[in-house]
Every structure is written in C-alpha cells, then in structure tokens.
C-alpha cells in the first residue's frame, strides 16, 4: 500500500545509499536570478549543464514592474541570469519574453509542470507545482549546482502527512484561508520533515489555481513538499499547454497519471483533518504565518500567555505596532499589494476585482499579475480598468513587493494588506508591517482602509 509520495519517490529514485539518502532524477529544473551562486559554483569547477533541455530560466525576483531596473545591481542580476542561461543553451523567459512571469506561475501555465514529474527550483515555493501531483521542492544553491551538473538531486525520503479537508467552504473563504487555517493550527514548523498531501472533497473541489495557492503555502507550515493527486481538473488544465504532451502522448500520460493517488489504505506518518465549514476569512497579525486568526478576532494579548510564547507575541506586536485586545477590523492599513506566486493568477485577480468593481480604494496599492499571460487575460476581461478606476496601480508581472528585491517595497512602519506568503520582519522592506490574506480580503481592506471582513461586501453570486 503506497502513498502518492511513495509512488512519486519510487518512480524517480536512481540509487539509495545505506545511510538512507536517495539519488533522484529531476525532470524539470527552473533557475532564476538568485541562481547566480549555483552557476558560479559550476563555473568554479569547470562544469557544464547536464540537461539544458530540461532546465528553464525565469526572470522574476528582480523583474521591474514599472519601467527600467531600479538600480545597476538589479539590472546586473537580470543580465547575469540571461547570460548564464544563454551560455549554457537554456531557454530563458526573460524580460522581453511574452511568457515571462513568476516561476511558479509560468511553469504550470506553459505546461512545463505536469503530474508525475520531479521538479526543482532554488526557491522554497516550488511546493506550488505539487498541486499537479508532482514531487516538487525547493533547494539551495549547492543543490542547484548539483542539479545543473547532474540532473539529479540527493534527498532523504520525508515522512508523510495527509491534511484532509471536508465540507463546503463558505462564500468569501478560499484556498488561502484554508492554508492559513492549518498553519495556525499546526504552527510554522508543524510540517517540518514531512511531505504534505492535501485530500478530501474540499480540496477536490478547488480549481487548479486554488490548489496551487494551497500547495504554495506548504512551506509556510514547514513542509518542503505539498501535493494533490491529479484528477480531471488537473488533466483539463494541462491539456493544450505549449510544453505539455499532446495527442497520443497525452492520452498515454493521462493513463499513467490516473494511478497517481495514495492507495485507499496507505498509512501516513501524520494525519490532520479540518472542517471547511469551520474556516472563516483569515488575516495574520504577527511576523510568522502561524500568527493567523479569523478576521472577526482580536489582537492576542501576551499578558494572557506565558514563557517564550508570551515574549514572542510581545515582540511581534511591538514590531507590528498593534495593541493587544484590539479588534482586527479596527486595524488601519496604509497600502495594499495584490501579487506573488501565491495569489496572482487570473482567478485571484478576478476575486479581487469582484470586490473592487464600482468601488474606490481608500489607500494606494499595487496589483502585479503573476505573468504576462495573466496580465493579457486580465486586460482582455477589463480587470485592469476595475483596479485603476478603484485607484490602484496596475503594473507588470514579477515577484515585486512580495520580496522587495526589485525596488518595490513597503516603507518602514507602513502597514500593508498583502496577498503574499510571508509576513516576516522586513520581508516587504525594512520595518514593513505585513498582513497576509486572500485577494478578496485585500480588496476589501483597500476599500475601507482597514482590515475588513469581505463577506458582507460580496454579491450574492460571488463565491470565492
């Protein structure tokens, strides 16, 4: 009896050492500007790229979202990637490519991400691709150099965890809330050492976009891998994508992909269950994604806690400039950001636009689509107009304010309602205060200038 993890693992294992480390075949490898350390390591040993045809470059972390690069260092990071990929014969989705965007958005969009693959990228949110039933995980620079040189990676089989969610999500509640709910429950280290499989009818009911959001956030709960068994939703999404198999190849692939599910009585090292109906729209209040509460809650009071936990909450509230006991919906924000590999796909933009349509934002903000193709689609649907008429800036695709590398950042002490994945100290800029939430919730916050429960603002037909 095998879990999905076992099946994917066994299909990629080339060799297992006595100490338990497995040598695994890598089907897809994505590199970005941050991969310069790995290319330098490879150059340092005079090595070449083993499989340039299985390696793809993406400009995203430093991509300017408005005009030219913000500084010579930023321009150099982009040029270095473009040069490294050119020198090694690697396809690169560069700044002038109509397919450019965030690596975890364009991999799936281009059909490079498929069920049954092992996918690596020097980026922790590589877990996103597991939404297709792939073994996808982030690696460090030394491992990136190893994949470049050998198209393999050494990895120890993680423990297995299944998170089962059942029931209907209420209108206004989506994959982001689901993810923050389990992270709040298990903690930011709750899934360390584990590969997570998401299961249950709620997960089955999610679109590919929703599944990607859920798997994307696995790492915020400590899980290097997140995955969902592929099904018709997956096959429909993949079919017709530029790099995906077609015709008989696709039929044959789908035949194999259908077997990619945990056997009915497969045992997991850890089982977690959640009821969808218990989940409300969630916002974070602190400096770790586990610091998450329903928006109807209040800022925690450290005087009611003890030990290191009390100290941590006190420090977090101090950084965040929040008063214990205050209703979350009374917290005023300075700006919003809609973007990132967590929530910048077309469905995310539609959800935000549905709230902003016919309304004005009280605070400024950026809307950065996940890719050029998402941008084009959104513009074709007129979503850009909704954002700009609401008073937000519609900018180009890239990591932008998720990681503040390209010059887009939140100024010290400013408070941002953000669709991103990390509310770490300084993540969006030194001294920046980040509240994580879903795109619909960010849109609601933009309209009122406070953290806001989006539910009363939704039309009757709008179910997030």
């Amino acid at each position: 009896m095998k879990t999905l993890l076992d099946k994917l693992w066994d299909a990629h294992e080339i060799h297992r050492r006595d100490d338990g480390a497995s040598l695994m075949w890598v089907d897809r490898h994505f590199v970005h500007e941050g991969s310069h350390h790995a290319f330098a390591k490879l150059a340092g040993r005079g090595g070449s790229v083993a499989e340039p045809g299985l390696t793809f470059g993406v400009v995203d972390h430093y991509a300017p979202t408005r005009g030219p690069a913000a500084s010579p260092e930023i321009a150099r990071m982009i040029e270095t990637l473009e040069k490294n990929t050119r020198d090694h014969g690697i396809t690169c989705f560069g700044l002038n490519d109509a397919r450019q965007g965030i690596v975890h958005v364009i991999g799936p969009e281009q059909g490079l991400t498929l069920p049954g693959l092992l996918i690596n990228c020097g980026d922790s949110h590589t877990s996103t691709h597991g939404a297709f039933g792939a073994l996808a995980f982030g690696i460090g620079a030394t491992e990136v150099a190893h994949v470049l040189a050998t198209q393999t990676v050494w990895q120890k089989r993680p423990k297995s965890m299944r998170i089962t969610v059942t029931g209907r999500l209420a209108p206004g509640v989506g994959a982001k809330d689901l993810a923050l709910a389990w992270i709040a429950k298990l903690g930011a280290h709750g899934a360390q050492g584990h590969a997570i499989e998401y299961a249950g009818d709620t997960v089955r009911g999610l679109t590919m976009e929703g599944r990607m959001t859920l798997c994307n956030l696995s790492i915020e709960g400590g899980g290097r891998f997140g995955m969902i068994a592929p099904d018709k939703t997956t096959f429909d999404y993949v079919s017709g994508r530029p790099f995906a198999p077609s015709d008989e190849d696709l039929d044959r692939a789908v035949g194999e992909w259908q077997a990619l599910a945990s056997d009915t009585d497969a045992a997991f090292d850890t089982e977690v269950t959640l009821q969808a109906s218990d989940i409300a729209p969630i916002v974070t209040w602190g400096t770790s994604p586990e610091d998450a509460l329903p928006v109807t809650g209040t800022v925690p009071d450290p005087s009611r806690l003890s030990g290191p936990k009390a100290d941590r909450v006190r420090t977090a509230l101090d950084y965040m400039g929040l008063v214990p006991g205050r209703a979350l919906v009374d917290v005023e924000i300075d700006q919003v950001f809609i973007g990132s590999c967590t929530n910048a796909r077309i469905e995310d933009l539609r959800a935000a636009a549905a709230v902003l349509s016919g309304r004005r934002a009280k605070v400024p903000g950026l809307v950065s689509p996940g890719s050029r193709l998402v941008q084009a689609q959104a513009e074709a649907e007129g979503l850009d107009k909704i954002f700009t008429e609401a008073g937000l800036d519609w900018v180009g695709p890239g990591c932008s304010m998720c990681v503040a590398m390209n010059g887009d950042r939140v100024e010290p002490g400013k408070r941002c309602a953000s669709t991103t994945n990390r509310n770490f100290r300084g993540r969006q800029g030194r001294g920046a205060r980040t509240h994580l939430m879903s795109p619909a919730m960010v849109a609601a916050a933009a309209v009122t200038g406070r953290l806001t429960d989006v539910r009363p603002m939704l039309g009757s037909e709008a179910a997030a």
């Binding site: 020097g122 040189a149 198209q151 790492i219 400590g222």
Partner: protein
C-alpha cells in the same frame, strides 16, 4: 568544503523563535557576490538600528567572536536562500543549536559545513535561561552527537547521511560522479517509458 569532527569555541544564545531566512540575510544584500563575504550582513536589521549603528546588547554584538548559536524553534524557516547560511558561516558560526530547523535551511547548512544540531526543546529552554546573553565555552563532538556547553552536556540529533557529510566534507557532485552509468540508464528508460515527461519540442534521448 573541509570536514570536521570536533569544534571548540564560544556559544551565545539568541532568545528568539522562528529566526527566518529573511532575517538571517535580508533580500537587499542578495546581489552581493559570495567572494565579498556575507558575514557583515548576518541578522543585519536586528544587529543594527535604522541609523546603521550597532545595537549594543544584541547577543552577536556582545559576543562578536561566537561560533555557536543557541536559538529557539523553527530556526531558518522560510526561503531556500543559501545565502542565509553563507551569512552565518562567513560570520564564523559553525553550529546552530535549536529545537527545530527549516528543512531547506538545514540541508543548505550541511552543504556548507554548518551543523544544525537539534536538541530537545525543554533543554534549550533551560540552556537559554542559564546563558542569558553571556558567552559560554562550548565543545561540539560531531561523531558522538554531544555538546558540552557551560555546565551542561546535551545530546543532539542529526541525520546519519548529514553526519557523514559534515565529517568527511563531501562534495556531492564528486560523489554523484560514481553513479553516472546508473543515471544514464535511468534517463534512457524514462525517455522510452515516459516520453511525456520530457517537454514537448525538446528531443528526448
């Protein structure tokens, strides 16, 4: 990277949970080439105030020659940026002792000769209480999985494969070289049995 089995130095406690990779090395320093060294950027926004002046009572400012760091749970959670490990290593840190580590951080650490030593949470609590912000003499025995720190003797857990790697200073690319025939066989098999696993338009084989 050279291997090691025993390390003696100074330890200091960082009384913080979830010291994430964005704090260890904040994004704005990431354009720096490795050759320039990352040590001065370690935990920069905690070590320096907004006027770029050192924060006097920050543990690493009080004990700038510390080589062992004691911290609370979820050390190194977050990003895969290996530069967070470079910052620790270039600063002179050889071992981090904590109840739990980010998975990617821990493997990056081992790839750079830095030991992520996992120690029971209750022992860490007691240790941090004892050390407060002061330096303590420390000896790390990699082979036996033991750490002597101040008046305490602690056992740490570490994956066997990682222990071997730290001790031997192995370079994975060299090791993998021995498996080239097996890799080539795997590739040929996969191209034949799962042609769909190769991107359309990219010749398989």
């Amino acid at each position: 990277m050279s291997g090691w089995t025993r390390h003696t130095g100074k330890a200091v406690a960082l009384d913080l949970e979830s010291v994430d990779t964005d704090q260890l090395l904040t994004a704005r320093f990431m354009t720096t080439p490795r050759a320039e060294g990352y040590g001065r950027y370690l935990l920069y926004d905690l070590r320096y105030n907004s006027a770029e002046q050192p924060v006097p009572d920050f543990p690493l400012n009080r004990v700038p020659d510390a080589s062992v760091l004691v911290a609370r749970r979820n050390f190194g959670g977050g990003s895969s940026r290996e530069a967070a490990v470079y910052a620790l290593v270039d600063f002179g840190i050889r071992t981090v002792i904590a109840p739990s580590f980010g998975d990617i951080f821990a493997s990056n650490a081992v790839n750079n000769g830095l030991l992520p030593a996992r120690v029971d949470e209750a022992e860490i609590d007691a240790l941090i209480d004892e050390l407060r912000g002061d330096a303590a003499h420390v000896t790390v025995e990699l082979e036996h999985g033991e750490i002597e720190i101040g008046s305490r003797k602690l056992a740490f857990t570490l994956d066997t494969a990682w222990r071997q790697k730290l001790i031997n200073g192995w370079d994975d690319i060299d090791l993998t070289g021995h498996h080239h025939p097996a890799i080539a066989r795997y590739r040929a098999r996969r191209a034949k049995a799962q042609p769909w696993a190769f991107p359309a338009g990219k010749a398989a084989g």
